[in-house]
């Protein structure tokens, strides 16, 4: 079998694997939230049931742009997942963080395009909030990444992960403490958990972008969130938590990142959109900037 076909099959495996990991996290996350609220909560495999059910339902579409956008969205995020090193192994042999940041955007653009083609103002309002929030969290995140980038003179995630593989003391949390705080705050906004859940505000704008999604479209929407979780937690683990040497350590670390986010989410209310961005700029932004200045001058 030639090498390209083999790589293709492996990549298909990765794409389904990343969906599965994300769905598992979502299910566990619901269980965790339930326990924080003193409930039983659904079984941990609930998200799988939900997604499969969504695919068995009938669905509606408004026009071809909606189909195109939704497919482009999940496609873009899965393509991003290929570039995330998993357990210190990068399947494509390259994992530039700049590609990750920009490839993720195609997922967001696809989602934005698909849902706003439905013609529902709620969806568009949700998207405009999401894009505005993106301006809030992307800047601190990029500043911290640039601090690492000029230290190592490499933008490869794998380089960062390998550099931190000498035990817990070599983790970037200790090397870039301010940056870690900035990224944690930004991460909260990236996955859209409270207090930055403006995009999906069920009581205000009827779940925002998802308002017109039904059946398999909604299923793809859920998978989108799952892959997004995989990509973003994987990114943080590789950047700060020392990567991992085996797959289960990787999964545990990734879930630990998500667990922190969930815990904050369970006890926070929502900011207004303007407050949210301002908060991100002021806190995450200033921590990120301090980290960048420190690294640029003394690092």
């Amino acid at each position: 079998m030639n090498a390209y076909a083999l790589l293709g099959i492996k990549l298909i495996g990765v794409s389904f694997g990343s969906m599965a990991v994300g769905l598992l996290f979502m299910g566990l996350g619901r269980k965790v939230t339930a326990r924080i609220q003193r409930r039983m909560g659904p079984p941990f495999y609930q998200s799988f049931i939900d997604v499969i059910k969504c695919f068995t339902k009938t669905s509606i579409t408004h026009n071809f742009v909606m189909d195109l956008g939704i497919i482009m969205a999940l496609g873009g995020l899965i393509a991003t997942a290929f570039f995330i090193p998993f357990a210190n192994f990068s399947i494509l042999g390259s994992s530039s963080v700049v590609i990750v940041l920009y490839l993720m955007s195609i997922g967001y653009l696809g989602m934005a395009m698909g849902v706003s083609a439905s013609g529902n103002p709620n969806a568009t309002i949700g998207i405009s909030r999401a894009l505005a929030l993106m301006m809030g969290y992307e800047i601190p995140f990029v500043m911290v990444i640039m601090a690492m980038l000029i230290t190592y003179n490499s933008s490869d995630l794998l380089t960062y992960a390998v550099a931190q593989s000498n035990g817990i003391g070599s983790w970037h949390i200790w090397k870039y403490p301010l940056g870690f705080i900035a990224v944690e705050i930004a991460f909260q906004a990236m996955v859209g958990e409270a207090p930055y859940d403006h995009m999906i505000a069920p009581a205000e704008i009827a779940s925002g972008p998802m308002v017109e999604l039904s059946g398999k479209y909604l299923g793809i929407g859920f998978l989108l969130h799952a892959v997004q979780l995989y990509v973003e937690t994987g990114l943080i683990v590789n950047l700060f938590l020392g990567g991992a040497s085996s797959w289960y350590v990787m999964l545990v670390k990734m879930f630990a990142v998500y667990f922190t986010t969930l815990s904050i989410n369970a006890v926070m209310a929502r900011y207004r959109i303007e407050q949210g961005i301002r908060h991100l700029w002021i806190w995450a932004g200033s921590f990120g900037l301090l980290q960048l200045i420190y690294t640029r001058i003394w690092g």
Partner: protein
């Protein structure tokens, strides 16, 4: 024979343009198109003929012999080639655009402008360069004006700024001539590079005079005001040319004169910040500022052509930053982004022109849902904004990536942060354009709108193919840069057809595109095996159970488009965005008063005596001073 081609491609369009002034409109556009085919053909054969030049001598009173020289350099040929190719596409577009209803009489002027453009890119001496530059300014002023009052105001605004630049350039040329005794550009570059160590003040004066001229033309800070007026008011088909090619003259000028000077200067001659000579660092900061201003202004603009004009300003900022890094990667990135910007902004303005052609609307919120009736236009715009936002697998990503690599190489992280801000903000305004014009509800007024005419569609399809090709195979474009870089005295960059190598990592764009295609395939499989889908009407939406028509809410009112980013407007209220414009307005008022004073002295018959007295006094004073 071949070297005689050089004056032909400059003078023929100009003469033919003059001739065409007396011809019928429709014929003019055909001549324009056919001549562009000829020009593009000639220009593409020039490359294989090797270096050539055409010299023309005459005597200027007081300064001796003047040698005018047209020649093909790698840089000049590159710009000539992309501009002629783009012009060909735009002229094909204009052929259908200028039908009976939408016709403008700009074809002769445009043809003269094409000649002037060729002249700029071929000139080897300052005299030819300046003549072409002036011709370009004048013709574009009348094209932007095209007989409408509001447009003419925009044209005046544009011309006033560019006139300021031209005057600065003239002073610079004069100083340079006094220093070198020659009109040649290459000797000027060498002399200024030497002067940077011996006569630094003089060299910096010359450099800043030229820089002002080029910044004014390329709409970099503090001259970022004119595109939003000129691009918006210009004829719709011309806006693509204005944004795609004309805004690049300044970039060409910077590459022609400023960049080689600093490349030839030995390191350490001038104090440097972050490994970049300080004048270049200032240029980088100004360019980054341009990007940020352009982005923020674009986010809150409601006019679609103005929005894209601000986007052009932001993108020129990127190019400026790439140039200012002073590395070969940065120059290559700047040139790459120039080409990309030409393609994607050409595509975007072409699709906007198609929209305007079919609907006659310019305010975005009055449009909406056009994707369902104009799919080719929609896809051109979509690919255009994907490229403009710098998302793989389209061409914009490759050049933005190179610019960032150039910045990382010099560790200019704060400039890079500003650019990242602009890049994220670009997402906001580009999506706004996409949604408000092409997605959302289709107004009943536009239900019968048809796709753009065939030639317009064809040129948009070609632009789409070019964008995709340059995105998936960056080597198609980057492969051309190395001889330009070597000619400018820089190291070549490492690039193949599929990949590019930057300072921190290398990237294989073809791989990125193919894994993206694979992932889309996986999702498409999921999509196909999912449950049955049914198509519903656009107004069949979740509305809390209400029928919008019960509330007299039709598609027009149900389209979320006006004041799109109102909730975040407050975030930018602290930015002094209007300061530059206010300054210009004050200057404008002052000039107007001055003009009134002069008019009142000369025009009024009773005051003729006063002006005579004033003139006599002036002559006496000058004599005394001498």
């Amino acid at each position: 024979m071949t070297s005689n081609m050089l004056p032909f491609i400059v003078i023929a369009p100009v003469l033919l343009g003059l001739l065409m002034l007396s011809m019928p409109k429709r014929l003019n556009w055909w001549i324009f198109f056919l001549l562009n085919i000829v020009l593009a053909g000639v220009i593409f054969t020039l490359k294989s003929k090797g270096a050539m030049s055409f010299t023309f001598q005459w005597t200027l009173f007081g300064t001796g012999k003047v040698v005018q020289k047209l020649g093909v350099t790698p840089l000049g040929w590159f710009f000539l080639a992309i501009s002629s190719a783009a012009t060909l596409l735009f002229s094909m577009f204009s052929l259908d655009f200028n039908d009976k209803k939408h016709s403008t009489a700009i074809a002769p002027l445009w043809l003269m402008l094409v000649g002037a453009t060729n002249g700029i890119f071929l000139s080897q001496d300052w005299i030819s360069f300046f003549i072409s530059w002036e011709l370009m300014s004048w013709t574009s002023l009348f094209i932007i004006g095209h007989g409408k009052t509001s447009s003419f105001k925009a044209g005046i605004y544009y011309y006033a700024l560019s006139f300021f630049g031209t005057m600065a350039m003239m002073a610079g040329i004069w100083l340079l001539f006094h220093r070198t005794g020659s009109w040649e550009i290459s000797s000027g570059v060498l002399k200024t590079a030497q002067d940077l160590s011996s006569h630094r003040g003089f060299a910096l004066t010359v450099l800043s005079l030229f820089t002002v001229a080029f910044l004014a033309k390329s709409a970099l800070f503090p001259f970022h005001m004119w595109p939003q007026m000129a691009h918006a008011e210009a004829p719709d088909d011309f806006s693509a040319y204005l944004s795609g090619i004309m805004i690049k003259y300044g970039v060409y000028g910077l590459l022609l004169f400023i960049v080689p000077v600093f490349a030839l200067t030995p390191r350490g001659t001038i104090k440097s910040i972050s490994g970049v000579p300080w004048p270049m660092y200032i240029l980088a900061v100004m360019s980054a500022l341009t990007s940020v201003i352009g982005t923020v202004m674009a986010i809150f603009t409601n006019d679609m052509k103005k929005l894209m004009a601000w986007s052009t300003v932001a993108n020129v900022g990127y190019i400026g930053v790439g140039l200012a890094t002073g590395t070969s990667l940065g120059y290559a990135a700047a040139m790459f982004h120039t080409v990309n910007h030409m393609m994607f902004k050409g595509g975007i303005f072409a699709s906007l022109a198609a929209v305007k052609y079919r609907t006659g609307e310019r305010e975005m919120h009055r449009l909406g849902g056009l994707a369902y009736v104009m799919p080719i236009t929609f896809f051109t715009f979509l690919l255009g904004i994907i490229a403009a936002a710098g998302i793989p697998p389209l061409s914009g990503f490759n050049s933005k990536w190179m610019i960032f690599q150039a910045l990382f190489e010099k560790k200019m992280v704060f400039v890079a942060t500003a650019l990242f801000f602009a890049s994220t903000g670009a997402f906001l305004y580009l999506f706004r354009g996409l949604h408000t014009i092409f997605l959302g509800q289709l107004s009943p007024r536009f239900r019968n709108v048809k796709e753009a005419p065939p030639l317009m569609s064809l040129s948009m399809i070609v632009l789409m193919i070019l964008m995709l090709a340059a995105g998936i195979f960056p080597g198609l474009v980057t492969g051309r840069f190395n001889d330009i870089l070597v000619a400018a005295g820089l190291n070549p960059i490492k690039t193949t057809l599929y990949s590019m190598t930057g300072s921190t990592t290398s990237i294989n764009s073809t791989l990125v595109a193919s894994v993206f295609a694979l992932a889309v395939g996986v999702v498409f499989f999921l999509f196909v095996i999912g449950g049955r889908k049914r198509r519903v009407k656009m107004m069949d939406n979740y509305t809390c159970g209400e029928d919008p028509l019960d509330w007299n809410v039709g598609p027009d009112r149900y389209h979320y488009g006006y004041d799109f980013y109102q909730p975040i407007k407050g975030l930018f209220s602290w930015m002094p965005l209007g300061v530059v414009e206010k300054g210009y307005n004050a200057l404008g008022r002052f000039m107007e008063r001055l003009g009134n004073l002069v008019t009142s002295i000369s025009a009024d018959g009773t005051r003729l005596g006063w002006s005579f007295v004033l003139g006599v006094i002036l002559i006496i004073v000058i004599g005394v001073v001498k």
